[in-house]
Subunit: 134 residues, 2 copies
């Protein structure tokens, strides 16, 4: 069912500093920051030859990553995103196996304009998993 | 400098249960478990079309992931591994930029039989980064 690793997402406090670190110290290709107010984050994309890393900085009063940064003041790996061909079929398979889908189970349009779901970390070894319809 | 994402590593308490979850619930291709006593872990490899996920279970009394599992009882994403062409050149560039390389800075032979280094998470947004010479 799961296909490519679409991205890993790392929550950071200071997107400018983190972008410089990846660009200058690690020598990676880092995009300009993109504010995504509807998702409560500003993001930069780091393009690797086989996948992407996304750096997320909180945006606005109710950012979904604010709590994570309270618990992880230095930042940290926030989630991984796997691609699926059919997100509704994936959801139904997961729900029938007893896994919990966050937010009521209806896919939302994610940061890449495609339908996404998030799975409960308690059901997946403490890992927040995003599924994105490829 | 950094190239492909070689793998993400997820620490788990029960490798059998985690393997079933990835194989049956998430429908992924999961290898047989491989004990790596010299690294203090037993590992399974999950093959995705563009990269790998490694599930790590502690092995032995002094596993390097035991402390992580004490802090994260459900498990969690433990590190990410980026490939580099020349690990000594990468190390020298990192050290000259002020980043801390763990374990004295000499590459060791990692779980894939190639030279690896780990970078201090405090210097990289709370992310433990492994570099592997490709």
């Amino acid at each position: 069912m799961i296909g490519r690793l679409n991205h890993i997402a790392i929550a950071v406090r200071d997107l400018g500093a983190a972008s410089r670190l990846y660009r200058e110290t690690l020598g990676a290709e880092v995009s300009a920051p993109q504010p995504l107010p509807e998702h409560g984050v500003t993001v930069v994309f780091i393009t690797l030859p086989n996948t992407k890393v996304e750096l997320l900085e909180p945006l606005g009063e109710t950012s979904p990553i604010a709590g994570f940064l309270d618990k992880n003041p230095d930042g940290g790996i926030h989630h991984v995103c796997y691609e699926v061909e059919d997100i509704l079929a994936a959801r139904d398979r997961l729900v029938s196996s007893g896994a919990r889908v966050l937010g009521g189970g209806e896919p939302k349009i994610g940061a890449h304009g495609k339908p996404v779901l998030f799975l409960h970390p308690k059901d997946f070894n403490g890992t927040l998993i995003e599924l994105e319809q490829a």
